[in-house]
Amino acid sequence: MVTSANIDVTLTLFARTTFLPLATSFVEKSALALGLEEGDALTLTLAAEEIFAYLCRTGAPERPVLMRCRGGGYFVETEFLFQPQEFDMRAFNLAVTPSLDTGQGIDETGLLIASRMVDRFHFASHDNGLRVSLTKERAYPAPPDLTTAVTRPLERFSIASPEPEELKELVRLIHSYYKGHVLPGNFDFPGKVADMAAARAYQAFVARDDAGHIGGGIIWGFPTQKTVGCSGPYVFGQPQSSVMARELIDECIGAVAKTQAVGIINRFPTEHLPVGYFERLGTLTVETSSGRYTEMPVLYRHLQEDPGATVWAHPLLKDFLEREYNRMVFARDIKSIRDEGEIRSQFSVISAEFDKLQAVVTLRPVWWGDDAQETLARDVEILENDGIHAIFFEMDLGRPWHSRFSPALEKTGFQPRLILPNCGKGDIVVFQHGTESN
C-alpha cells in the first residue's frame, strides 16, 4: 500500500515577502499531496504563512530558510530551518516587549498566532540552527462502539505484534475494560492508533491465543529519541492476569532495551502493572475531565547501567537535586554555577512546544539573558490568557547555562517536580508552573 508516511518535500528560499505566495503554495500543495483534507491543509497553510511573514519581518531579506513538509501518515508537519545569527533572536519569544515592537503592553508574535492554528507547534534550537515546526493531524471519526468490545478468558496465550485490525480491537478492548481510567487521548480513535503504528509512532504487543482472541496488550512510542512512553499493561479479565501482565512488560522492555532510549516513562499505568518494574519519578499536576486538578504519578524505568555523571545546577536547586538523586540512587557530582562578573547577555530566548490536543506547553531555554524573569513572566501570562494552565519548563543539567534560569523560574512560580535521568545532554529537570511539589 502506498502511504504518505515518511515522505519529505523541501524548498529553500529567501525570507523575502515576494516569496510568501511561493511558501504558502508549497505548504498547501504538499499538505494535500501528503494526505490532509482540504480544510486542514488550509489551516496548516495559514499557520505557515504567519511564520514565514514573521521571518520576513525579523530577518535580513537575503537570508535563506529551508522549508520542509513531511508526511507522517496521520499528520503533516511543516518545518522552517534557519540560522539564528541571521535573525533577531528576541523575536522568537512567544511575546515581545514593547521596545521591540511599536505597540503597548505585551505583543503577540507570529509564533503564538501560528501555534493556535495547529495541533502541535515546536520552536527550538537544534544542531544546525533554529527550527520552527507546525503539525496538523488528520481528523479521525470517533467510533460509536468504543466501550462495548468483549473477549474471553484464554487458556493459553503468546505475545505477538498485532496486525492493524488487532490493534484497533485492542484499543476498543482497553476502552471497554478500563472505563474510568485516564487513557492517552489518541486511544479515542482506533483508526488513528493503527495509522500511528503504521508510521512507527506507536508499537504494541498483544497477548492472544491460537484462535486469535486477545487477552491483553501494551502500547508504547518514542516521544523523544531518548525516552519511551508506554501505557498499560492492559489485561482483560484473564485468569492469569499477573502472568500475562508480566510477560507483556517483559516483552515491551525487551523490544526497547537495545534502542537509543535510556528510559521508559509510564504516565498511564494500570493496576496490572507488576510491582518492581518501575520507579516513581515524582508527580505532575493534571486537570481531569471534570476540571479538577489531581496529582498523577510519573513512573519510570531506567534501561541502562547508569555510569554516574556531573551535573550543573544553581544553588537554589541543590536541595531538590540532592534529595531526588539520593532517593533514586543516581550518582551525581553536583557542581554549582556562579556569577563571577562575566559579560552577560541582556536578553533571553525561550522556546515553546505546544500540544494543543493535550493543552500542554513545554518551555525550553534557547538563550539566557538578564531579562529571563520578565521573559518567563510574559510567556506564562500570555499562555494563561490563552487558557493553557499546564505549563512546563525543561532544564538540561548537562548544559550549565540552563541553570541560570533557576532564580527566574522560582520567582515566576515554577517548581521542580521531577528529574528525567540522562534524557538530554545530561539529566533534565521538569518544572511545572503554579503547583506545589509533593
Partner: protein, 372 residues
C-alpha cells in the same frame, strides 16, 4: 564547516546505538562515593592469569614494546595446534573474541544476507551484523537455552552464519554432544556454524561437546575461544577461532594482521597448558556457586544457572536500580535489561570474600527498596 553526516551515514548506522562502556574504576568509585569496587560484572577471573603467564608479564623487556608483534601470532598458533592436535593454519588469533566475530561476518556476509542467533545471548554477534547492514535474526531462547529447531526454521537462502553460544552467556545452558551433532548434521554444510566456547573451560559435564574435536567432521564449523575468562587475560584482549584449514584460509582474507600485541601473544602461549590454573579456578567457582545458590535461596531469589563462572538472579525490583544501589556499596554486577532479561542481574562467581560482600550488599539493596 559542517560535516554532512546525514548524507554520509548509512541508515543502519544512524539507527544503531553505540555501546557505552563503563567508566574506569577510579571514576566510578569517585562518582558513587565508594571506597572499594568489587568487579562482578564481566565474568573476569579473580585469580588472574596462570602463573606462567604472570611470569611472562613480569619479565617482559620494555624495549620489546618498540617492535611490531608477530603479525599472525605465529608461536601461539603453534602452541594451540600442539594442544589440540591440529595444524597451526587451523587457527586465527584476534584482538579478543570480538574481533574474530567480525572476521567471520565480514568473510561470509554481504548486503541482504542474514545471520541467526538467539535473542538473549552475547550481544556482539547481533551488533556486528547490525552495524554491517545485515539482518540479525534473533530466535527466542527455549527453557533458557538456544532453540535448535527454531534456528533451523529461520534459515533461508540468504542465511550465511549461525551463532551458538555454548554454554550460553548469560543463562549458562548448553547443548550436549548429541544435540550439537544433530544440529550440524541438519545444517549439512549449507551455512557456517559458529560455536562460541568462551566459557567451555569452566564446564565439567561429561556430555559437554568439545568443538575442537568436531572440526574434523564438520568443515563448516568454526569454534571461538578466548583467553579473557578462564585464563585471566581480559586486559590484554586475545581470543581465537579454529576450523578446517580451508575455512580458516577463507576467513583469513578479512583478518587484520598485527592486531594482537606481543605481550598478549606471549602470555597466552604460556597459558595454553596451565591445567593447574584451570583446576584451581574451577574449584573456586564451584565453591562460590554453592555459596551463592544457598544464600540466594535464603533471600528467596530465583537463579538461572548452569555452566560458566556466572549466575543470573531474578530480582523483585528493577535491575538497573539494583545496579545503582549495589554500586553505591562498591559492588558492580551486570544489569540484564540490555540482554532482554528485565529485572535480572548477572553475577560473576568469584572469591568467597567477594561473594559474601555481594550477598551483604544485595540484602541491603532489597531492604532499602522493599516493596510494601
Amino acid at each position: 564547516m559542517q560535516v554532512a553526516l546525514d548524507r554520509l551515514l548509512p541508515e543502519y548506522i544512524k539507527k544503531f546505538e553505540a555501546y557505552t562502556p563503563s567508566k574506569p574504576d577510579a571514576e566510578l568509585m569517585k562518582l558513587y562515593g565508594c571506597s572499594r569496587l568489587i568487579r562482578l560484572n564481566n565474568n573476569e577471573n579473580p585469580l588472574g592469569p596462570p602463573p606462567a603467564s604472570q611470569e611472562v608479564l613480569r619479565r617482559f623487556p620494555p624495549e620489546k614494546a618498540a617492535q611490531y608483534p608477530s603479525g599472525d601470532a605465529f608461536y601461539l598458533r603453534r602452541k594451540l595446534a600442539e594442544r589440540f592436535d591440529k595444524d597451526p593454519d587451523q587457527f586465527l588469533v584476534g584482538n579478543g573474541a570480538n574481533e574474530v566475530i567480525a572476521f567471520v561476518i565480514k568473510a561470509f556476509c554481504r548486503q541482504g544476507d542474514n545471520i541467526i542467533t538467539a535473542d538473549k545471548t552475547f550481544a556482539v554477534y547481533e551488533w556486528v551484523a547490525t552495524f554491517s547492514g545485515l539482518e540479525a535474526r534473533l530466535v527466542p531462547l527455549k527453557d533458557h537455552g538456544f532453540d535448535d529447531q527454531a534456528m533451523l526454521d529461520r534459515i533461508d537462502e540468504r542465511t550465511k552464519v549461525l551463532f551458538v553460544c555454548n554454554p550460553n552467556n548469560p543463562t549458562g545452558r548448553y547443548w550436549n554432544r548429541a544435540r550439537l551433532r544433530r544440529f550440524l548434521d541438519l545444517v549439512d554444510g549449507r551455512q557456517i556454524v559458529v560455536v562460541d566456547e568462551a566459557y567451555c573451560e569452566f564446564v565439567e559435564q561429561p556430555d559437554f561437546p568439545d568443538g575442537m574435536k568436531l572440526i574434523e567432521e564438520y568443515p563448516n564449523l568454526v569454534v571461538f575461544r578466548t583467553f579473557s575468562k578462564m585464563y585471566g587475560l581480559a586486559g590484554l584482549r586475545i581470543g581465537y577461532l579454529a576450523g578446517s584449514e580451508e575455512l580458516v584460509a577463507a576467513i583469513r582474507r578479512t583478518c587484520i594482521v598485527y592486531s594482537v600485541n606481543t605481550l598478549a601473544q606471549e602470555s597466552a602461549s604460556a597459558a595454553v597448558n596451565q591445567d593447574d590454573h584451570v583446576m584451581r579456578t574451577r574449584r573456586m567457582v564451584n565453591e562460590g556457586k554453592s555459596f551463592l545458590t544457598r544464600e540466594l535461596a535464603r533471600l528467596g531469589l530465583p537463579c538461572i544457572g548452569g555452566e560458566g563462572n556466572f549466575l543470573m538472579v531474578r530480582l523483585p525490583m528493577s535491575d538497573t536500580l539494583a545496579y545503582r544501589s549495589l554500586m553505591k556499596q562498591g559492588v558492580m554486577v551486570r544489569s540484564m535489561t540490555g540482554f532482554r532479561f528485565p529485572n535480572h542481574i548477572r553475577v560473576t562467581v568469584s572469591t568467597a570474600q567477594a561473594m559474601e560482600a555481594f550477598i551483604e550488599a544485595l540484602t541491603t539493596t532489597l531492604k532499602a527498596h522493599e516493596i510494601p
